[in-house]
Amino acid sequence: MVKVRLEGLKKYFDKVKAVNDIDLEIIPGEFVVLLGPSGCGKTTLLRCISGLERVTEGKIFFDNDNITYLSPRDRNISMVFQNYAVWPHMTVKNNIAFPLRIKKYSQQQIQEKVIWVANLLGIDNLLDRYPAQLSGGQRQRVAVARAIVMEPRVLLMDEPLSNLDALLRVRMRAEIKKLQEKLKVTTIYVTHDQVEAMTMGDRIAVLEQGIIQQFGNSDEIYHNPVNIFVAGFIGSPQMNFIEVEIVHKNEIFYLGTKGLEVPVLDILKDKVSKLSDKRNYILGIRPEHIYTADRAQTDKVVTTKGKVYFAELLRSDTVIHLEKEFGLLVIKTPGDLKIEEGKELEVLIDLSRIHLFEKDTRKAIF
């Protein structure tokens, strides 16, 4: 178990700042997910940590060792690649044994470790096959086996599940997470899939434009996003963003726009009253925090009405697009609802779940 620390890490490709001044501290044995849209720099950051990419500036520490300028093979890391990169000219056994052979383990140790890891991943009956004779899922297991057999200081994973079909992905998600908990190896996992990030990561670093926007556990990331980017990236369907002004009436602050007036709860009153500017704010509310009239979970709500523009009948959930003066308001409600398009619908916005952002800085106020 090793602590990973990044200090002012930068990686520029010519003028493109792929990784732009990143500080990060990962505690020993932690499973950290780097999450972001494509082109956000998450893979580049992982490749910097692996040593496959040389950093432009900054330092990388494993515990107290500065490994910034070590070549990949001297870092004692391992990696699972997106397309597995299981060597096609070697059998499964030789693929897994390869890192051990390089490290000059004895024949017996190699034999023992290969059997151990093959059993762990349930591929002990495939050892004599070639990768071409394996399915995608099996190849994935071989790649994971190869990565953990040498007990690396840090395990790196670059979108390892993105080439698997949906069903297998869900299964491997749980398996990899359980495996990591068992091995307690510090793991850095890159993905663009928020479900993977939320379910697997002890902590999640949300990246955009080469910068870590927020680093925290799934609870913090979901409930207290620090800016509009994180708020919009996490959650599906996306959070509703509504441009509002602050109105002060009868000792109560309202966040208002045409067709909607949301009162601010007392506990948030201080934060709003401090704001000098009354315009240019963005109200954020997640679709799952707007309820249909019969399903309200609290009485601290505000009611609003609109015409149903479109209803996504997923049967397990129902996603309703409501026509409002400011645009469409998206509501997600569990269960199979009978919703008719074009009809008026009354919905309740949960006041304890609203977010407020500054429009210019895009930062969260609450």
Partner: protein
């Protein structure tokens, strides 16, 4: 009615396809067949005008070509020259092809273009200066000299082919090897080369065949140490016709055998994937 009509149309189309394929095959094969038959035909049959297909065969002209005209020496020279050319272009082409396939550097596209540009100058223009330089260096009329010239001719193509073959080997395999304990050089030799070997071998043989068939430079640069095509140009062309066919046959046969064995890799060699 309809159900009958469609199979007939299909059948016609099939016949037309077979017919066209047949024409193309005949077009390419007939000279080969003609040369082969004439190479073995006895001189008597060969000169009998009403006999289209000879019935008497002999190996006499092979004997006179090999020993009388000393073609065996030329064959030996050709093997040496082509072998050296293959070796040199492999050794020089591999790192160059790797650089073109794996790295982005300024002037890369220009360099690729330059590789092709070497093919734009006619050999006639190059031949005389080349000969003078080679004479000054003292390598004219040597096996080394001819293979150097052949390497210069073959190398640009080999570099481009190698770069496309190496691009076909995913860089991930190499990077995985580097993660799991190898240096870049070792990863190249233990992972990339084995994976690219069929294609690389095919293109090396291609280099061999190019050198084997090359006649112009070989003729100009040598007097005594002539390769087979150059030798044949000098000797067999002044001999009876049936000897020319024999000479043509022994020149074409090895190249065709080589191509036959590497035919599977010829397509991938040019970076075309059929998947």
């Amino acid at each position: 009615m309809m159900s009958q009509k469609i199979p007939i149309a299909l059948k016609i189309r099939q016949l037309v396809t077979i017919f066209l394929v047949g024409i193309i095959v005949i077009w390419f094969l007939s000279p080969v067949v003609l040369i082969t038959i004439s190479a073995f035909a006895s001189p008597g049959d060969y000169y009998q005008i009403e006999k289209v297909i000879p019935t008497h065969f002999t190996l006499n002209q092979f004997k006179s070509l090999f020993f009388g005209l000393e073609a065996w020496k030329a064959i030996l020279t050709s093997i040496k020259v082509a072998g050296l050319t293959m070796l040199l272009s492999f050794i020089l082409g591999l790192p160059a092809g790797y650089a073109l396939s794996r790295y982005i550097f300024p002037g890369k596209n220009f360099l690729k273009l330059l590789c092709l540009a070497t093919k734009m100058l006619p050999l006639m223009v190059l031949a005389v200066p080349l000969l003078i330089i080679f004479m000054k260096m003292g390598v004219s009329d040597t096996i080394w000299g001819t293979s150097l010239a052949h390497t210069a001719m073959v190398l640009p193509i080999i570099i481009l082919i190698f770069s496309s073959i190496l691009s076909g080997v995913s860089v991930d395999y190499e990077e995985a090897a580097m993660i799991f304990g190898l240096s870049r050089l070792h990863a190249f030799f233990r992972i990339t080369i084995p994976l690219a070997l069929p294609g690389l071998a095919a293109s090396a043989i291609f280099a061999f065949v190019l050198s084997w068939n090359e006649v112009f430079v070989a003729t100009i640069l040598t007097l005594t140490n002539r390769t087979l095509p150059a030798h044949i140009l000098k000797t067999a062309m002044a001999s009876p016709d049936y000897l020319k066919f024999t000479a043509g046959f022994i020149m074409a046969a090895p190249a065709m055998v080589f191509i036959f064995f590497v035919r599977k890799h010829l397509v991938t060699m040019w970076g075309i994937s059929l998947k």
